[in-house]
């Protein structure tokens, strides 16, 4: 209400904060004629497609690597310095390098999203192994579980809730790097749309892009929570 009034009554310049009614018009306009010749849904699809592919690969590689680092102190000690060095780097700083390595095609965009979520998944999965209950492992050992059985029947299920949590966090981080990824010579995608619209002072499009980016990130997290409840219902339960 306040937001709408502030615009309609001219309290705030619509260029700074377009009111919801303008935004709704923008939605209709973009839905029909698209932004820069590309329909809105396509911007959306391009971005989520890029991100989902990068997330899938990050999970498929990051979870096993993190688990292995958690299980083997030697392996963990060897890889940890690299991971810890790369992880906090702002991914924007990597853009020049990435362009040199991967060119300006999809590869570069994939890599930027992938690397940011991958690194934090690795750290999270290895921490999850360290957090496995020693007491339950001991119980399994007195019941005759072999090392392999201890891993399959105790370490994995015990670490699963924390792995889920770290995947959720990492996907948030990966989604954040979407903008960085789409700064690299893109001509579609939500991140690109926001950057591009910003430089043409289309605040309404910027705002719409931000709302869509936020909602999509929220939807990813919601989906993961759903999966977590389905596949790790013992999360946070004591026994």
């Amino acid at each position: 209400m306040l937001w709408q009034l502030s615009g309609s009554l001219g309290w705030v310049d619509p260029l700074l904060l377009p009111p919801p009614s303008d935004l709704w018009q923008t939605v209709q306009e973009l839905a029909i004629s698209g932004y820069r010749q590309t329909p809105l849904w396509q911007h959306f699809a391009v971005s989520t497609g890029r991100a989902l592919l990068a997330f899938a690969v990050a999970i498929a590689l990051g979870v096993p690597l993190g688990l292995a680092m958690g299980l083997s102190p030697l392996f963990g000690a060897v890889l940890n310095p690299f991971v810890q060095f790369l992880r906090p780097l702002p991914k924007i700083a990597l853009i020049p390098l990435v362009i040199v390595w991967f060119g300006i095609g999809e590869g570069a965009k994939f890599f930027l999203i992938f690397i940011s979520s991958f690194l934090s998944i690795v750290v999270g999965a290895s921490a999850a192994v360290h957090g496995v209950s020693q007491g339950r492992l001991r119980a399994a050992r007195t019941l005759g579980a072999s090392r392999r059985q201890q891993f399959v029947h105790v370490v994995l299920p015990d670490a699963l809730p924390e792995v889920f949590t770290s995947v959720r966090l990492s996907i948030g981080i990966g989604w954040t790097s979407l903008i960085a990824a789409e700064m690299v010579a893109a001509n579609s995608g939500l991140g690109w749309m926001v950057i591009n619209a910003g430089s043409y002072l289309r605040t309404d499009v910027v705002l719409l892009g931000i709302v869509l980016l936020g909602l999509t990130g929220y939807a990813f997290d919601w989906l993961l929570q759903l999966l977590q409840r389905r596949f790790a219902p013992w999360t946070g339960r004591d026994a």
Binding site: R138, A139, T142, L143, G144, A145, A232, P233, D238, A239
Partner: protein
Amino acid sequence: MSHPRITLEHVSKQFAAPGAGRTAVLDNVSLTVNEGEFVCLLGPSGCGKSTILNLVAGFEQPDHGRVLLDHRPISEPGPERGMVFQQPMLFPWLTVRDNVTFGPRMTGADKASYQADAERYLQLVGLQDFAEHYPWQLSGGMRQRAALARAWLPKPQTLLMDEPFGALDAQTRLAMQELLTDIWQRTRTTILFVTHDVDEALFLADRVLVMSARPGQIRESLTVPFARPRNPEELLTDSAYGQLKRDILHAVREEAAKSLGLQPA
């Protein structure tokens, strides 16, 4: 019959203390538990009772001395030595039934060989109606009973029990003690049982070991002479019971006072 199953020979154990030092937890402990014997270990909190069980289970190695099972040094845990912990340590991702059958499933036993036993143990500990529940859907006492059934099912030759009934209410505790002696009399499992409760020790044990304050040593070894099957009410009327309980309480209180840094009363 008096073949020693568990032997500790001059065992010492230290742990790294915060800072640079080390805490001596066990100091030159020697003890024997014979095959088929039921031995209770009493002593003040922190004197090293759980540490002794961990050594016998094979989770820890002694700094000095030897820990033997059937005359052979113990190097790692094994299913012939079952353990019930101070906490239930159930697997929250498994149902109660799957928790209870965890042992035989790991050792690859034929399902037909343990299925009936599993149901019987679930019944004995009063959890037959909760077999499909998950541990977090049980009360604390029910979880501990599930943990008991889980430890019994593989029929270990030796059972190490670390205050398994400490968290139970008085009635359930009595029922569990009777159940334990029942099963023990049939299976003649060798049991090393840690407790704080003198009455529990006198009801269960063939022999009571009283430990000193840390660094733990075996201060006294007392034979419990009462005929089995024992009845908790009849025991109370036995004059030898009162005398034995006084002796043990005296030793336990003296050591507890030491471990708390108080003057013995």
